[in-house]
Subunit: 433 residues, 2 copies
């Protein structure tokens, strides 16, 4: 139990600087039984609880707001032995993605999900937010990787489904429901995950393109010609300029292009030919198949987050639209931001193959409701969602009606009631109640 | 609205002869609005409702028991235009699997799930039961194919999530929850599904093996050597003898083997070499790559159901165990059945790659509770589930505590309350309440 303000601090302020609040105290239980005890005690004392993983979330889902108790799960790091016959592994919710990746790779396996925050993001947090990342195009989001869970309900009772059976239709799908529930239905303590064989060959291409339309053509070609396709991320020339200035490095090509793609192919045979199928649609390219070279190419994309953070506190909005609507959405978005915030700067990147756009607006005032609403409405107007992979958290609870009907929200509200009748678990998150 | 006893009959008796009951009446709405109206009226009049698709279920989930209204969804057969960019398609709940397959195949696509009852089983019923079948090994069960749904709640309100976005974390996963809820949470009216490209080459192998242990070795080899692997089903020599007698055909090989595998490989290149990787572990083999030949090989496996039905009313129990436990489970099962029902006959087949065993016992009396309980306990004792892919329905509601904890069942019971406060939707199904 941490009560010292200095010790509590990192649990009270998120990475972006956008969310912070005082925690009554921070508790760091060591196992499921201790988590259950904390929840029972909080229930008796009517103390609201905010579960927290690696605290890398971007929507205030795990940051205290107003004197809640922060329930940090980072000590639940037990990794159980791999089940070789099913390639499944059960890990504690506090295991980081990187720890899991290293553990699996040492055994010739890999985890079919990756994201930039891997060194701190925990499996429990990734379950809570149904994390996505660059590999979803091929393997799906976190929900597709979770084959079982153990969680503590708000009243301290434990529910466990860890058998990992490939077919198990005994009742309602609580596993899928827990994934993406952002800690507001139950506190995940253990997770059973599927692993995959480590690809023998992997290569990365960085490509400069003339337009988003060309990027979509390149994506379509890759989807048809490259069964080894794993990731198709994108960013823009204006973002790249900031990244290179921030990192103090040169741009990858002589020219700056409007759009860049970072593409990964991986498989049991050398996938460079498959990757090269994209060349008809690109202006310039760099390809690497060694890990240092690959990391260098990905760095241009992955450093966008820290670069934008270094430039100020951005308004960050993670949205998705149908893949084919990305160009039209981007044009309309640029117009909206210019209209509402002439001095602002719009920096975009994301997972092109999933229609997932990370909207970052620099120069927005701290309370930019009108701007936020305009961007989210625009995504929904293009057939999209107000949250692609970051969840709803505190940031978007009030905007949920933009993309979910009244009947839908009322159903979710009742679900919340079932799991957490006293509303002590993650209050005000996901649903604006 | 059907009230005539002769017209109602096929809605009142299931395929197996194991489940039947009188329907107050049978209603066949034409669209979502009519489904909503029926549910509202039933709510006002306190009439319990049993939703029904193709009525091919094997656990009494869609068969009336005691004067319920049968809500047949078979008229909801609208197939909306394919979305080429995402390969997604939205269809009415009453569309049969075969109609969907034919529709997609005419466009060079396919549906990544197949099962023997394809000509009658509806998409709505397959969503309700989270159907499995022979392709789950590669593509997952129905839940993995459903990217959106529209359903009518018990009170007639409609919830719709049909955007089909690849990433959409706006609130709780109602889609996954509806899949597998067996019509007891809501009535599914439209479903958005993912399609896949039709494989250019497909081949089927039928293999005779010396033992289940060899079958597991063959499976392991295929999983490693054949990326094109789609299905690994199995049956036994004693089942094959019945099938051949029933169909009046010769056995595929001169000898009868203890175990047979039916294996499908499919991909953009000829997969016969990959299929042949299994040959080290098999005694005899037949391979076909033309559709007539392939159908003939699959026929030995698929005719098991009708054969067993022709021999009497079998006790049918669909269970799953961890794949590696199939031999031990089978040995123990044989012993249990011999002990409890010396005159009975045990016929087994299933989806080996999923650990999914279809247990059929001939000669069991109509009320064979002790036998049923013994078999289900045995599956759970081997780390398995009382239901792999057929659901719980009426058949297994009372056995759910064998594989779900009290906390788990209590959570599901509350979920049911949320969706259906007056318990008029599919009463007594899934949960024994």
């Amino acid at each position: 139990v941490l009560t010292d303000p200095d010790l509590k601090r990192s649990f009270e302020h998120d990475l972006t600087g956008g969310w912070s609040g005082e925690a009554l105290l921070v508790v760091r239980p060591a196992d499921t039984a201790e988590v259950a005890e904390v929840l029972r005690e909080c229930g008796s004392a009517s103390v609201p609880v905010v579960p927290q993983g690696g605290h890398t979330g971007l929507v205030g889902g795990g940051t205290p707001r107003d004197g809640e108790l922060v329930l940090s799960l980072t000590r639940l790091t037990k990794i159980e032995p791999l089940d070789r016959s099913t390639l499944q592994i059960t890990v504690g919710a506090g295991t980081t993605l990187e720890q899991l990746q290293q553990h699996l790779r040492a055994q010739g396996l890999d985890f079919p999900l990756d994201l930039g925050a891997r060194s701190a993001a925990t499996i429990g947090g990734m379950v809570a937010t149904n994390a996505g990342g660059q590999l979803s195009l091929r393997y799906g989001t976190m929900r597709a990787q979770v084959v079982g869970f153990e969680a503590v309900l708000a009243d301290g009772r434990v529910v466990e489904r860890l058998s990992g059976l490939l077919k198990d239709n005994a009742g309602f799908d609580l596993t899928g429901l827990i994934v993406g529930s952002e800690g507001s239905l139950a506190v995940v303590t253990r997770v059973r995950l599927r692993a995959i064989h480590l690809a023998r060959y992997r290569c990365t291409g960085l490509f400069g393109l003339a337009s988003l339309e060309d990027a979509l053509r390149a994506l379509e070609r890759l989807k048809q010609a490259a069964p080894s396709l794993e990731a198709v991320d994108y960013f823009e020339g204006r973002g790249l300029e900031h990244v290179c200035a921030h990192l103090g490095i040169r741009q990858p090509f002589e020219r700056t292009y409007p759009v860049y793609l970072v593409v990964d192919c991986a498989g049991p045979t050398e996938p460079i030919d498959e990757l090269a199928s994209v060349l008809d649609y690109v202006e310039e390219s760099a390809i690497a198949s060694d890990s240092a070279g690959r990391e260098q190419l990905w760095r241009y994309r992955e450093a966008h987050n820290e670069t934008v953070r270094a430039l100020g506190v951005p308004l960050k909005l993670d949205v998705s639209v149908p893949v084919g609507s990305i160009p039209a959405f981007t044009t309309a978005l640029r117009r909206v931001v210019e209209g509402l915030l002439p001095a602002g700067e719009l920096i975009l990147w994301g997972h092109l193959g999933d229609g997932n756009v990370h909207v970052n607006i620099l120069g927005a005032p701290p309370e930019a409701d009108h701007l936020e609403e305009a961007v989210l409405r625009l995504a929904v107007g293009h057939g999209g969602s107000i949250s692609a992979e970051h969840g709803i958290g505190l940031a978007k609870a009030r905007w949920l009606p933009l993309c979910r009907s009244e009947n839908d929200i009322e159903t979710m509200r009742r679900l919340k009631q079932v799991f957490d009748p006293t509303s002590l678990l993650n209050p005000g998150r996901v649903l604006d109640v």
